[in-house]
Point group: C2
Chain length 191, copies 2
């Protein structure tokens, strides 16, 4: 960020009055340009115990499998984002069941919110960002070919809860430690 999107003048990084951290501030009109994390919302679409996954056709992680999910847009609710992404990436219609995972990714300024959902019919097919869409029984999930740590942890929790027939909200943070991604469970939840 180098220029003011309001007046076009150059920006400097400084702590504005009554603030406590450095921001991008316009040298001419003094507008403060805040930056904030973004929400990624998506679904775990289920049909008779099977889970709908999409094989990505675009970078990052082209060729790997993921749950339908994407950035929340202005004017949407998180539930609407989750359903829209499922329609766009898998041409699939779902009924949202409930919020299932809230996963912080502070190293890339994202918060994932994944919803359990019921797939309404079997009329699905690859959207623009997918090269394949398929239902996987829990034992068939391609664990070695998943696109993102958030998706792996969400599926891991889901399969565990599905086996126990009791679903509960899972919240935590994915922390990058060297080359590995570890899930740190938030306070207040059973390990």
């Amino acid at each position: 960020m180098k220029y003011c999107n309001q007046c076009g003048a150059e920006l400097v990084i400084e702590i504005p009055p009554a603030d406590n951290r450095p921001r991008h501030v316009c040298t001419r009109c003094r507008t403060v340009h805040y930056q904030n994390p973004r929400i990624v919302a998506g679904c775990i679409p289920v049909w008779q115990g099977g889970i709908l996954l999409c094989k990505r056709s675009i970078e990052p992680r082209a060729g790997l499998w993921t749950l339908p999910a994407g950035f929340m847009e202005l004017g949407e609710t998180t539930v609407q984002t989750a359903a829209r992404e499922t329609l766009e990436e898998a041409h699939a219609r779902v009924e949202i069941v409930e919020l299932y995972t809230v996963i912080n990714l502070p190293h890339i300024n994202q918060v994932y919110m994944m919803y359990r959902s019921r797939l309404l019919d079997l009329d699905f097919s690859p959207g623009d960002e997918s090269e394949a869409v398929a239902l996987f029984a829990p034992r068939e999930i391609p664990w070695g070919h998943l696109a993102f740590p958030t998706i792996r942890h969400t599926l891991d929790f889901f399969v565990e809860d599905q086996r126990a027939s009791t679903f509960r909200l899972r919240t935590g943070t994915i922390v990058k430690e060297g080359q590995a991604y570890c899930f740190r469970i938030d306070p207040g939840q059973p390990a």
Copy 2:
């Protein structure tokens, strides 16, 4: 948004290739400037059944009472935001218990995430954005002088669950209908 923050050239609104909605796009360097909703995270700090509220000293809603909450910053987790805002607005230290409300506000592009928390001691005082901080027994909550609908609904749910001694995640959307704000409960939750 009128100018590119990367190169300073003028922006136009158009649908970029492989996208499906209008974005601000730079006429020179073609950078697409996405806009996304922001997360507000905060706490319901509790001490022996009493709830810590802050009387706002700044606009919007100066003079009205609120729970400590604020915009999530880059590099933070939602739990860290909630605890930091409580420290900044009420000079209060908390232990986070669990995520309690997730409230979408699509008309202002915000998502509130409020955490139940235990106040660790009685050493609290007004921060820069507060003119007073005080503990309120449930029956003493100043319902007619609360700053935001998100706070009113969160406190309403909290007092109801506190009475029943059973807390459960509440998720939904605040919809502006005329001059009133209605809470629409998300799918999958008891009414």
